[in-house]
């Protein structure tokens, strides 16, 4: 017979005896140096891993049961951001469709830049506006959660986060003002919002873990 496949050899090593060719494979292996060596390796790996003791996990159940009965508060804002992100993703999808390039006449780069800036489809602008609004709404929810958790944070840490978030909000505002109707820049603003949301989410997660 031809050499068995790697999966066939593995099935033999793992003791998965469902393969009807098992006897044939064993016979082949007995006379084939390469396959015999491979099977020896597979059995050795399996034996090394398999001889480790099983683990008791019954003591972990009460923690699971408690969380099933009383879900952590985190799920509330995690759910909200999931919804907000979903809406944002939908808006981004609309945007993607709106921005799909059609055939353009050949123009010089400078002319092209002017053309793109001046010929934005109103639907594209509307999609950008909606996406930004989605991000702003999600940010409001997360900022509200941060305000709730803030008194429990270390004052110095809270002060540093306040500064970071204020700076991020200011940068977003400035970028948005500069972007005007430039699609490419506004896409970068959306990236900025996404980064801001991620920072807020991480902050909240860490705060809740530090103060359950």
């Amino acid at each position: 017979m031809t050499h068995p496949t790697q999966e066939e050899l593995e099935a033999v090593a793992l003791g998965q005896s469902g393969d009807p060719r098992a006897a044939e494979i064993e016979a082949h292996v007995a006379g084939c140096t390469d396959c015999s060596r491979e099977l020896a390796w597979l059995r050795a790996e399996r034996a090394l891993l398999g001889r480790r003791p099983q683990l008791r996990t019954a003591h972990l159940w009460p923690g699971v049961a408690a969380r099933l009965e009383h879900p952590r508060r985190r799920t509330r804002w995690a759910w909200r951001i999931a919804v907000a992100s979903g809406v944002g993703a939908a808006a981004a999808a609309v945007l993607f469709v709106a921005l799909r390039p059609g055939p353009l006449p050949v123009v010089q780069p400078q002319q092209n830049a002017r053309r793109e800036r001046s010929a934005i489809d109103p639907k594209t602008l509307a999609a950008l506006d909606r996406a930004e609004a989605d991000y702003r709404n999600a940010a409001k929810v997360l900022e509200g959660e941060y305000d709730r958790l803030r008194p429990r944070l270390d004052p110095e840490l809270a002060r540093r986060w306040d500064e970071t978030l204020t700076r991020a909000r200011a940068q977003l505002g400035e970028s948005r003002a500069v972007a005007a109707d430039d699609v490419n820049v506004r896409m970068r603003v959306l990236d900025g919002y996404a980064g801001y949301l991620r920072s807020l989410r991480d902050l909240l997660q860490e705060s809740e873990e530090a103060n359950p």
Partner: protein
Amino acid sequence: MCAASLPGEVLGAPDRDSDEELLSRARAGDPEAFRVIFDREAPGVRRFLGDLLRDDAGADEGTQETFVRAHRRLGTLEQTGKLQGWLFGIARMVFLEQIRRKRRESPMPEPAEDFSRTDCGPSPEAMLLSAESDRMLEGALADLDVERRSALLMRIDHGLGYGEIAAAMGWSLQKVKNEIHRARLQLRARLAGYLGEGAR
């Protein structure tokens, strides 16, 4: 909190309920059915996470998180026969989130690959007889890229099929095969280095 060892523990009974039946009851809100699923599957999930994280407390926490999420998503499991792979897929996501959090605190360098010793013949007996084999194995696994390690462990420690691993990892079947092959070469190169003349 650390999982206690139980040598030779036999999991499950011959006349146990099928996964399908248990899942059906759990989906209908029967807490006892989910408890049975936990009892059956948690040791494997805990071991998988322990091998990935090498941190008992983190693996315990990750196991709990995996089952909390699994409970929430019971309705999304389409093929009940794939329960273990599905749980490992959730455990992998939990693990990735944990290491992302850790990396923010202390970035870990990726290990370099060295397959130069994989042509050595194996000497399984030498491996099994070696008193240091457990530590050796642990070190060899630790050197693998975490994703590659996940796939290899699902295959050789937990016996998942390639298709189940592909679903759990979100990879193509070909990628699963490639990654497991590379993981094996790397693991063997490392193990062969400890086995002296017997391995060559």
